[in-house]
Protein backbone atom coordinates (compact mmCIF):
# COMPACT_ATOMS: atom_id res chain seq x y z
CA UNK A 1 0.00 0.00 0.00
CA UNK A 2 2.92 2.37 0.44
CA UNK A 3 4.16 4.75 -2.24
CA UNK A 4 7.67 4.63 -3.72
CA UNK A 5 10.18 7.16 -2.41
CA UNK A 6 10.47 10.10 -2.08
CA UNK A 7 7.69 9.85 0.49
CA UNK A 8 9.00 12.53 2.83
CA UNK A 9 10.47 15.93 2.02
CA UNK A 10 11.82 18.33 4.60
CA UNK A 11 10.75 21.95 4.08
CA UNK A 12 11.09 25.10 6.14
CA UNK A 13 9.31 24.60 9.49
CA UNK A 14 7.94 21.18 8.68
CA UNK A 15 7.84 18.13 6.50
CA UNK A 16 5.58 17.04 3.67
CA UNK A 17 4.81 13.34 3.51
CA UNK A 18 2.98 11.04 1.17
CA UNK A 19 3.66 7.65 2.67
CA UNK A 20 0.46 6.07 1.34
CA UNK A 21 -0.22 4.30 4.67
CA UNK A 22 2.28 1.46 4.21
CA UNK A 23 1.14 -1.32 6.53
CA UNK A 24 0.37 -5.02 6.27
CA UNK A 25 -3.31 -4.62 7.21
CA UNK A 26 -5.34 -5.27 10.34
CA UNK A 27 -5.00 -9.07 10.24
CA UNK A 28 -1.27 -8.81 10.81
CA UNK A 29 -1.55 -5.77 13.09
CA UNK A 30 -3.95 -7.57 15.43
CA UNK A 31 -1.10 -9.63 16.86
CA UNK A 32 1.04 -6.49 17.19
CA UNK A 33 -1.80 -4.78 19.09
CA UNK A 34 -2.20 -7.77 21.44
CA UNK A 35 1.55 -7.89 22.04
CA UNK A 36 1.77 -4.14 22.64
CA UNK A 37 -0.95 -4.38 25.28
CA UNK A 38 1.24 -6.80 27.23
CA UNK A 39 4.17 -4.36 27.44
CA UNK A 40 2.56 -0.94 27.97
CA UNK A 41 0.72 0.61 30.90
CA UNK A 42 -0.91 3.49 29.01
CA UNK A 43 -4.06 3.30 26.86
CA UNK A 44 -3.54 2.12 23.29
CA UNK A 45 -5.36 4.03 20.55
CA UNK A 46 -5.27 2.44 17.10
CA UNK A 47 -5.52 4.54 13.94
CA UNK A 48 -8.05 3.06 11.55
CA UNK A 49 -8.39 3.55 7.82
CA UNK A 50 -10.71 1.97 5.29
CA UNK A 51 -12.05 2.45 1.78
CA UNK A 52 -15.71 2.17 2.84
CA UNK A 53 -17.85 2.53 5.97
CA UNK A 54 -18.00 -1.27 6.22
CA UNK A 55 -14.24 -1.55 6.01
CA UNK A 56 -13.75 1.10 8.74
CA UNK A 57 -16.14 -0.87 10.96
CA UNK A 58 -14.41 -4.17 10.24
CA UNK A 59 -10.94 -2.79 10.99
CA UNK A 60 -12.14 -1.00 14.13
CA UNK A 61 -13.84 -4.15 15.39
CA UNK A 62 -10.73 -6.28 14.84
CA UNK A 63 -8.51 -3.66 16.51
CA UNK A 64 -10.81 -3.46 19.54
CA UNK A 65 -10.96 -7.23 19.77
CA UNK A 66 -7.16 -7.40 19.69
CA UNK A 67 -6.98 -5.04 22.67
CA UNK A 68 -7.20 -1.44 21.43
CA UNK A 69 -8.62 0.81 24.16
CA UNK A 70 -9.98 3.21 21.54
CA UNK A 71 -9.88 3.71 17.78
CA UNK A 72 -9.11 6.90 15.91
CA UNK A 73 -10.69 7.11 12.47
CA UNK A 74 -8.32 8.55 9.90
CA UNK A 75 -10.92 10.11 7.60
CA UNK A 76 -8.61 12.90 6.59
CA UNK A 77 -5.47 11.40 5.15
CA UNK A 78 -5.01 13.75 2.19
CA UNK A 79 -2.82 11.52 0.08
CA UNK A 80 -4.42 8.11 -0.23
CA UNK A 81 -5.62 7.17 -3.70
CA UNK A 82 -9.30 6.70 -4.58
CA UNK A 83 -10.87 8.09 -1.41
CA UNK A 84 -8.42 10.95 -0.99
CA UNK A 85 -9.78 13.37 1.57
CA UNK A 86 -13.38 12.72 0.63
CA UNK A 87 -14.86 11.10 3.72
CA UNK A 88 -13.47 13.75 6.02
CA UNK A 89 -14.64 16.52 3.69
CA UNK A 90 -18.20 15.27 3.33
CA UNK A 91 -20.50 15.51 6.41
CA UNK A 92 -22.87 12.83 5.06
CA UNK A 93 -20.13 10.27 4.37
CA UNK A 94 -18.50 11.07 7.70
CA UNK A 95 -21.79 10.51 9.56
CA UNK A 96 -22.20 7.15 7.85
CA UNK A 97 -18.68 5.99 8.72
CA UNK A 98 -18.90 7.07 12.37
CA UNK A 99 -22.31 5.41 12.82
CA UNK A 100 -21.09 2.18 11.27
CA UNK A 101 -17.99 2.08 13.49
CA UNK A 102 -19.96 2.97 16.62
CA UNK A 103 -22.28 0.06 15.90
CA UNK A 104 -19.33 -2.29 15.49
CA UNK A 105 -17.47 -1.52 18.73
CA UNK A 106 -18.16 -0.40 22.26
CA UNK A 107 -14.73 1.22 22.56
CA UNK A 108 -14.43 5.02 22.32
CA UNK A 109 -14.33 6.28 18.74
CA UNK A 110 -12.22 9.32 17.93
CA UNK A 111 -12.43 11.10 14.58
CA UNK A 112 -9.31 12.78 13.17
CA UNK A 113 -10.46 15.78 11.20
CA UNK A 114 -8.98 17.24 8.05
CA UNK A 115 -7.98 20.92 7.93
CA UNK A 116 -8.53 20.86 4.17
CA UNK A 117 -12.14 22.01 4.41
CA UNK A 118 -13.97 25.32 4.28
CA UNK A 119 -15.58 24.94 7.69
CA UNK A 120 -14.06 22.42 10.08
CA UNK A 121 -16.77 23.09 12.67
CA UNK A 122 -19.40 21.67 10.32
CA UNK A 123 -17.49 18.37 10.11
CA UNK A 124 -16.79 18.38 13.85
CA UNK A 125 -20.51 18.78 14.48
CA UNK A 126 -21.41 15.99 12.04
CA UNK A 127 -18.95 13.55 13.63
CA UNK A 128 -20.13 14.38 17.13
CA UNK A 129 -23.79 14.06 16.18
CA UNK A 130 -23.06 10.67 14.62
CA UNK A 131 -21.70 9.48 17.96
CA UNK A 132 -17.96 10.24 17.93
CA UNK A 133 -16.68 10.24 21.51
CA UNK A 134 -13.89 12.70 20.75
CA UNK A 135 -12.21 14.53 17.87
CA UNK A 136 -8.61 15.04 16.81
CA UNK A 137 -7.78 18.35 15.18
CA UNK A 138 -5.99 18.33 12.78
CA UNK A 139 -4.45 16.00 10.21
CA UNK A 140 -1.86 17.30 7.72
CA UNK A 141 -2.44 20.24 5.38
CA UNK A 142 -2.37 19.49 1.65
CA UNK A 143 0.92 20.61 0.18
CA UNK A 144 3.46 20.12 -2.59
CA UNK A 145 7.24 20.46 -2.97
CA UNK A 146 8.75 21.33 -6.34
CA UNK A 147 12.47 21.25 -7.08
CA UNK A 148 13.66 24.23 -9.12
CA UNK A 149 16.69 22.55 -10.67
CA UNK A 150 14.84 19.54 -12.12
CA UNK A 151 11.55 21.46 -12.41
CA UNK A 152 9.80 18.40 -10.91
CA UNK A 153 7.55 17.71 -7.93
CA UNK A 154 9.70 15.89 -5.36
CA UNK A 155 7.22 13.42 -3.85
CA UNK A 156 6.48 10.34 -5.93
CA UNK A 157 2.78 10.96 -5.18
CA UNK A 158 3.22 14.64 -6.27
CA UNK A 159 1.05 15.98 -3.42
CA UNK A 160 1.43 15.26 0.26
CA UNK A 161 0.48 16.46 3.70
CA UNK A 162 2.35 19.21 5.54
CA UNK A 163 3.04 18.72 9.25
CA UNK A 164 5.26 20.37 11.83
CA UNK A 165 5.55 23.91 13.23
CA UNK A 166 4.39 25.39 9.90
CA UNK A 167 0.80 24.22 10.58
CA UNK A 168 0.62 24.90 14.32
CA UNK A 169 -1.32 28.19 14.09
CA UNK A 170 -3.79 26.56 11.69
CA UNK A 171 -4.34 23.59 14.01
CA UNK A 172 -4.63 25.86 17.02
CA UNK A 173 -7.35 27.89 15.32
CA UNK A 174 -9.22 24.69 14.40
CA UNK A 175 -9.18 23.52 18.03
CA UNK A 176 -10.29 26.98 19.21
CA UNK A 177 -13.22 27.05 16.75
CA UNK A 178 -14.39 23.51 17.56
CA UNK A 179 -14.17 24.06 21.32
CA UNK A 180 -16.24 27.21 20.97
CA UNK A 181 -19.05 25.59 19.00
CA UNK A 182 -19.16 21.83 19.61
CA UNK A 183 -19.61 20.03 22.92
CA UNK A 184 -16.93 17.32 22.69
CA UNK A 185 -13.41 16.42 23.79
CA UNK A 186 -10.57 17.37 21.49
CA UNK A 187 -7.07 15.99 20.88
CA UNK A 188 -4.94 18.93 19.67
CA UNK A 189 -2.52 17.99 16.93
CA UNK A 190 -0.28 19.89 14.51
CA UNK A 191 3.30 21.04 14.98
CA UNK A 192 3.51 20.55 18.74
CA UNK A 193 7.21 20.52 19.58
CA UNK A 194 7.57 22.20 23.00
CA UNK A 195 5.57 22.32 26.24
CA UNK A 196 4.54 25.86 25.35
CA UNK A 197 2.91 24.54 22.17
CA UNK A 198 1.06 21.91 24.22
CA UNK A 199 -0.16 24.50 26.74
CA UNK A 200 -1.42 26.71 23.91
CA UNK A 201 -3.50 23.81 22.54
CA UNK A 202 -4.92 23.08 26.01
CA UNK A 203 -5.82 26.75 26.43
CA UNK A 204 -7.50 26.69 23.00
CA UNK A 205 -9.70 23.81 24.15
CA UNK A 206 -7.84 20.53 23.66
CA UNK A 207 -8.03 17.99 26.51
CA UNK A 208 -4.93 16.18 25.27
CA UNK A 209 -2.36 16.59 22.51
CA UNK A 210 -0.65 14.38 19.93
CA UNK A 211 2.95 14.66 18.75
CA UNK A 212 4.35 13.22 15.52
CA UNK A 213 6.77 15.33 13.51
CA UNK A 214 8.72 16.40 16.62
CA UNK A 215 9.82 12.78 17.02
CA UNK A 216 12.05 13.49 14.03
CA UNK A 217 13.07 17.06 14.80
CA UNK A 218 13.63 16.34 18.52
CA UNK A 219 13.54 12.71 19.66
CA UNK A 220 11.07 10.25 21.19
CA UNK A 221 12.10 11.96 24.45
CA UNK A 222 10.00 14.92 23.29
CA UNK A 223 6.98 13.34 25.06
CA UNK A 224 8.69 13.38 28.45
CA UNK A 225 10.02 16.90 27.89
CA UNK A 226 6.56 18.25 26.98
CA UNK A 227 4.91 16.48 29.94
CA UNK A 228 7.48 17.89 32.33
CA UNK A 229 7.07 21.40 30.95
CA UNK A 230 3.27 21.29 31.19
CA UNK A 231 3.47 20.00 34.78
CA UNK A 232 5.86 22.80 35.75
CA UNK A 233 3.59 25.37 34.08
CA UNK A 234 0.54 24.11 36.01
CA UNK A 235 2.48 24.23 39.27
CA UNK A 236 3.79 27.74 38.61
CA UNK A 237 0.29 28.96 37.75
CA UNK A 238 -1.16 27.11 40.77
CA UNK A 239 -3.47 24.79 38.82
CA UNK A 240 -4.10 21.34 40.24
CA UNK A 241 -4.94 19.62 36.96
CA UNK A 242 -4.70 19.99 33.20
CA UNK A 243 -8.51 20.04 33.20
CA UNK A 244 -8.45 23.47 34.79
CA UNK A 245 -6.75 25.11 31.81
CA UNK A 246 -8.65 23.39 29.00
CA UNK A 247 -10.31 26.15 27.00
CA UNK A 248 -9.00 28.91 29.30
CA UNK A 249 -8.23 31.14 26.32
CA UNK A 250 -11.98 31.45 25.68
CA UNK A 251 -12.74 33.27 28.92
CA UNK A 252 -12.35 36.81 27.54
Amino acid sequence: MGYPNPTVVQVNCGIINAMGLPNPGIAEYASEISFTKTVITVPLIVSVYGYSAEEYAEVAKTAAKAGADAVELNVSCPHVKETGSEIGQNPKLLTQVVREVKAATSKPVIVKLSPNVTDIVELARAATKAGADALTAVNTVRAIAIDAETALPVLSNTRGGLSGPAIKPIALRAVYDIYEQVDTSIFGCGGITTWQDAVEFLLAGASAVQIGTAIATRNPTVFKAVNRGVTAYLKKKKFRSVKEIVGQAHRS
Binding site: T7, N17, P22, E149, T150, L152, A216
Partner: protein, 264 residues
Protein backbone atom coordinates in the same frame (compact mmCIF):
# COMPACT_ATOMS: atom_id res chain seq x y z
CA UNK B 1 15.85 18.32 -0.68
CA UNK B 2 19.06 19.78 -2.12
CA UNK B 3 19.89 19.13 -5.74
CA UNK B 4 23.41 18.85 -7.10
CA UNK B 5 25.22 17.72 -10.24
CA UNK B 6 27.18 14.48 -10.41
CA UNK B 7 30.81 15.56 -10.60
CA UNK B 8 32.38 12.23 -11.48
CA UNK B 9 31.50 8.59 -12.00
CA UNK B 10 34.14 5.95 -11.43
CA UNK B 11 33.63 2.34 -12.46
CA UNK B 12 34.98 0.20 -9.60
CA UNK B 13 34.12 -3.17 -11.13
CA UNK B 14 31.59 -4.51 -13.67
CA UNK B 15 28.66 -4.12 -11.24
CA UNK B 16 29.73 -1.23 -9.03
CA UNK B 17 30.29 2.50 -9.56
CA UNK B 18 31.32 5.36 -7.30
CA UNK B 19 29.51 8.71 -7.65
CA UNK B 20 30.98 11.95 -6.39
CA UNK B 21 29.09 15.21 -6.06
CA UNK B 22 29.29 18.51 -4.21
CA UNK B 23 27.24 18.77 -1.04
CA UNK B 24 28.59 20.85 1.83
CA UNK B 25 26.48 19.14 4.50
CA UNK B 26 27.23 15.57 3.50
CA UNK B 27 30.90 16.48 3.06
CA UNK B 28 30.97 16.80 6.88
CA UNK B 29 29.67 13.24 7.38
CA UNK B 30 31.46 10.83 9.69
CA UNK B 31 32.24 7.20 8.75
CA UNK B 32 29.09 5.10 9.13
CA UNK B 33 26.62 7.87 8.32
CA UNK B 34 24.41 7.68 5.24
CA UNK B 35 22.57 9.98 2.87
CA UNK B 36 19.30 9.75 0.96
CA UNK B 37 19.89 10.06 -2.78
CA UNK B 38 17.01 11.12 -5.00
CA UNK B 39 17.11 9.82 -8.56
CA UNK B 40 14.52 12.21 -10.07
CA UNK B 41 11.28 10.54 -11.23
CA UNK B 42 12.58 7.11 -10.12
CA UNK B 43 13.17 6.71 -6.38
CA UNK B 44 15.07 7.92 -3.34
CA UNK B 45 17.41 5.44 -1.64
CA UNK B 46 19.73 5.33 1.39
CA UNK B 47 23.44 5.03 0.60
CA UNK B 48 26.44 4.71 2.91
CA UNK B 49 29.00 7.45 2.56
CA UNK B 50 32.24 6.10 1.12
CA UNK B 51 34.37 9.23 1.25
CA UNK B 52 34.32 13.00 1.74
CA UNK B 53 36.79 15.56 0.48
CA UNK B 54 36.55 19.34 0.82
CA UNK B 55 32.97 19.97 -0.32
CA UNK B 56 32.36 16.67 -2.04
CA UNK B 57 30.88 13.37 -0.96
CA UNK B 58 31.14 9.94 -2.61
CA UNK B 59 28.88 6.90 -2.57
CA UNK B 60 29.56 3.45 -4.00
CA UNK B 61 26.61 1.72 -5.61
CA UNK B 62 26.03 -1.76 -6.98
CA UNK B 63 23.34 -2.09 -9.67
CA UNK B 64 20.75 -4.30 -7.99
CA UNK B 65 17.23 -2.89 -8.21
CA UNK B 66 15.30 -0.35 -10.25
CA UNK B 67 16.80 2.71 -8.54
CA UNK B 68 20.42 1.58 -8.62
CA UNK B 69 20.14 0.41 -12.23
CA UNK B 70 18.84 3.85 -13.21
CA UNK B 71 21.62 5.49 -11.25
CA UNK B 72 24.15 3.38 -13.16
CA UNK B 73 22.83 4.97 -16.39
CA UNK B 74 23.50 8.47 -15.05
CA UNK B 75 26.54 10.45 -16.07
CA UNK B 76 28.68 13.38 -15.02
CA UNK B 77 26.62 16.61 -14.66
CA UNK B 78 23.27 14.78 -14.33
CA UNK B 79 21.16 16.03 -11.43
CA UNK B 80 20.54 14.13 -8.20
CA UNK B 81 18.84 15.17 -4.94
CA UNK B 82 20.50 14.78 -1.55
CA UNK B 83 19.28 14.68 2.05
CA UNK B 84 21.50 14.01 5.04
CA UNK B 85 23.92 13.06 6.40
CA UNK B 86 21.76 10.89 8.65
CA UNK B 87 22.31 8.42 11.47
CA UNK B 88 25.13 7.79 13.90
CA UNK B 89 28.71 6.84 13.08
CA UNK B 90 31.31 4.24 14.00
CA UNK B 91 33.07 4.85 17.32
CA UNK B 92 36.72 5.76 16.79
CA UNK B 93 39.32 3.92 18.80
CA UNK B 94 43.09 3.72 19.18
CA UNK B 95 43.38 -0.01 19.87
CA UNK B 96 43.74 -3.05 17.61
CA UNK B 97 40.93 -3.29 15.14
CA UNK B 98 39.63 -5.63 12.49
CA UNK B 99 37.31 -4.52 9.70
CA UNK B 100 35.10 -7.05 7.92
CA UNK B 101 33.49 -5.91 4.68
CA UNK B 102 31.17 -7.93 2.47
CA UNK B 103 30.58 -6.66 -1.09
CA UNK B 104 29.66 -2.95 -1.26
CA UNK B 105 29.60 -3.01 2.55
CA UNK B 106 33.31 -2.34 2.17
CA UNK B 107 32.57 1.26 1.09
CA UNK B 108 31.84 2.81 4.53
CA UNK B 109 34.63 0.71 6.04
CA UNK B 110 37.15 2.21 3.61
CA UNK B 111 36.12 5.64 4.87
CA UNK B 112 36.43 4.39 8.46
CA UNK B 113 39.83 2.81 7.77
CA UNK B 114 41.17 6.17 6.56
CA UNK B 115 40.40 7.64 9.98
CA UNK B 116 41.45 4.62 12.03
CA UNK B 117 44.77 4.33 10.20
CA UNK B 118 45.89 7.48 12.03
CA UNK B 119 45.07 6.27 15.53
CA UNK B 120 45.15 2.48 15.72
CA UNK B 121 48.01 0.13 16.64
CA UNK B 122 46.75 -2.71 14.51
CA UNK B 123 44.40 -2.44 11.53
CA UNK B 124 43.40 -5.66 9.79
CA UNK B 125 40.88 -6.01 7.02
CA UNK B 126 38.91 -8.93 5.64
CA UNK B 127 37.14 -8.27 2.37
CA UNK B 128 34.67 -10.83 1.09
CA UNK B 129 32.97 -10.98 -2.30
CA UNK B 130 31.21 -13.50 -4.51
CA UNK B 131 33.93 -13.45 -7.12
CA UNK B 132 37.25 -11.73 -7.97
CA UNK B 133 35.61 -9.05 -10.11
CA UNK B 134 33.46 -7.89 -7.20
CA UNK B 135 36.28 -7.32 -4.73
CA UNK B 136 36.52 -3.61 -3.93
CA UNK B 137 39.14 -1.04 -2.93
CA UNK B 138 41.99 -3.51 -2.30
CA UNK B 139 44.58 -1.06 -3.63
CA UNK B 140 43.29 1.72 -1.40
CA UNK B 141 42.99 -0.50 1.69
CA UNK B 142 46.47 -1.99 1.52
CA UNK B 143 48.45 1.13 2.56
CA UNK B 144 45.99 1.83 5.41
CA UNK B 145 46.30 -1.60 7.02
CA UNK B 146 49.13 -2.74 9.30
CA UNK B 147 49.08 -6.15 7.64
CA UNK B 148 48.04 -7.24 4.13
CA UNK B 149 44.21 -7.33 3.85
CA UNK B 150 42.69 -10.80 3.57
CA UNK B 151 40.48 -11.40 0.53
CA UNK B 152 37.92 -14.14 0.25
CA UNK B 153 35.76 -15.13 -2.72
CA UNK B 154 32.92 -17.60 -2.74
CA UNK B 155 34.06 -19.11 -6.03
CA UNK B 156 37.76 -19.10 -5.17
CA UNK B 157 38.76 -16.86 -8.10
CA UNK B 158 40.90 -14.73 -5.76
CA UNK B 159 42.26 -15.08 -2.23
CA UNK B 160 40.73 -17.69 0.01
CA UNK B 161 37.79 -19.72 -1.28
CA UNK B 162 35.40 -19.20 1.62
CA UNK B 163 33.18 -16.62 3.29
CA UNK B 164 34.72 -13.60 5.02
CA UNK B 165 33.82 -15.08 8.39
CA UNK B 166 36.24 -18.01 8.06
CA UNK B 167 39.53 -16.09 8.36
CA UNK B 168 37.75 -13.94 10.99
CA UNK B 169 37.64 -16.80 13.46
CA UNK B 170 41.40 -17.34 13.16
CA UNK B 171 42.10 -13.66 13.80
CA UNK B 172 39.71 -13.53 16.76
CA UNK B 173 41.38 -16.57 18.30
CA UNK B 174 44.70 -14.68 18.60
CA UNK B 175 45.68 -13.94 22.17
CA UNK B 176 48.26 -11.75 23.89
CA UNK B 177 49.72 -8.55 22.45
CA UNK B 178 48.03 -8.80 19.06
CA UNK B 179 44.53 -9.56 20.41
CA UNK B 180 41.82 -7.69 18.50
CA UNK B 181 39.90 -5.12 20.63
CA UNK B 182 37.14 -4.12 18.21
CA UNK B 183 35.60 -5.57 15.07
CA UNK B 184 33.77 -3.29 12.62
CA UNK B 185 31.50 -4.96 10.07
CA UNK B 186 29.37 -3.94 7.13
CA UNK B 187 27.88 -6.16 4.46
CA UNK B 188 25.09 -8.69 3.95
CA UNK B 189 23.14 -9.13 7.16
CA UNK B 190 23.69 -12.86 7.35
CA UNK B 191 27.42 -12.17 7.28
CA UNK B 192 26.96 -9.61 10.06
CA UNK B 193 25.06 -12.15 12.12
CA UNK B 194 27.91 -14.61 11.75
CA UNK B 195 30.48 -11.93 12.66
CA UNK B 196 28.34 -11.12 15.71
CA UNK B 197 28.19 -14.78 16.76
CA UNK B 198 31.96 -15.12 16.46
CA UNK B 199 32.75 -11.92 18.35
CA UNK B 200 30.43 -13.10 21.12
CA UNK B 201 32.22 -16.44 21.22
CA UNK B 202 35.61 -14.75 21.58
CA UNK B 203 34.36 -11.91 23.79
CA UNK B 204 35.43 -9.17 21.36
CA UNK B 205 33.46 -5.91 21.10
CA UNK B 206 31.95 -5.16 17.72
CA UNK B 207 30.10 -2.50 15.76
CA UNK B 208 28.04 -3.23 12.65
CA UNK B 209 26.34 -1.00 10.14
CA UNK B 210 22.89 -2.38 9.28
CA UNK B 211 20.67 -1.83 6.28
CA UNK B 212 16.88 -1.73 6.09
CA UNK B 213 14.20 -0.44 3.76
CA UNK B 214 14.15 3.28 4.45
CA UNK B 215 11.59 5.90 3.62
CA UNK B 216 11.86 9.05 5.73
CA UNK B 217 15.45 8.65 6.95
CA UNK B 218 14.67 10.85 9.96
CA UNK B 219 13.18 8.45 12.49
CA UNK B 220 9.50 9.00 11.82
CA UNK B 221 7.94 6.38 9.61
CA UNK B 222 9.11 3.15 11.24
CA UNK B 223 9.94 1.41 7.95
CA UNK B 224 13.46 0.52 9.10
CA UNK B 225 12.90 -0.72 12.64
CA UNK B 226 14.85 -3.64 14.07
CA UNK B 227 13.69 -4.57 17.57
CA UNK B 228 13.19 -1.32 19.46
CA UNK B 229 15.63 0.57 17.24
CA UNK B 230 15.16 2.71 14.14
CA UNK B 231 18.09 1.94 11.85
CA UNK B 232 17.97 5.43 10.28
CA UNK B 233 18.09 7.37 13.54
CA UNK B 234 19.34 5.08 16.35
CA UNK B 235 21.73 3.42 13.84
CA UNK B 236 22.78 2.52 11.26
CA UNK B 237 25.74 1.55 13.47
CA UNK B 238 24.94 -0.78 16.38
CA UNK B 239 27.31 -2.18 19.01
CA UNK B 240 27.49 -5.65 20.56
CA UNK B 241 25.08 -4.82 23.40
CA UNK B 242 22.46 -3.52 20.95
CA UNK B 243 22.97 -6.43 18.55
CA UNK B 244 22.31 -8.81 21.45
CA UNK B 245 18.95 -7.07 21.96
CA UNK B 246 17.94 -7.59 18.32
CA UNK B 247 19.45 -11.02 17.72
CA UNK B 248 16.00 -12.57 17.13
CA UNK B 249 15.78 -10.43 13.98
CA UNK B 250 19.42 -9.92 12.98
CA UNK B 251 20.09 -11.80 9.76
CA UNK B 252 16.68 -13.45 10.05
CA UNK B 253 13.77 -11.11 9.32
CA UNK B 254 12.96 -7.50 8.44
CA UNK B 255 10.00 -5.36 7.43
CA UNK B 256 9.06 -5.34 3.76
CA UNK B 257 7.58 -2.61 1.58
CA UNK B 258 4.11 -2.91 3.14
CA UNK B 259 5.38 -3.29 6.68
CA UNK B 260 4.98 -7.06 6.56
CA UNK B 261 7.70 -9.24 8.10
CA UNK B 262 9.87 -10.96 5.50
CA UNK B 263 13.05 -13.06 5.64
CA UNK B 264 16.37 -11.18 5.34
Amino acid sequence: MRTTHIESVKTENPTTKTYTFTDKQCAKAKPGQFLMLWIPTIDEIPLSIMNTEDNTVSVTVKALGDATRHLHQMKKSDIVGVRGPFGNSFTETNGKVLLVGGGTGTAPLLYLAKQLAVTTKRLSFIMGAKTRKELLFLNQLEPLCTEPPTSTTEDGTYGLKCLATQPLEQLLAEKGKTKIDVVYACGPERMIREVFNLTEKYHVHMEASLERLMRCGIGLCGSCVIGKYRVCKDGPVFNSAQLREVKDELGISKLGFDGNRIPV
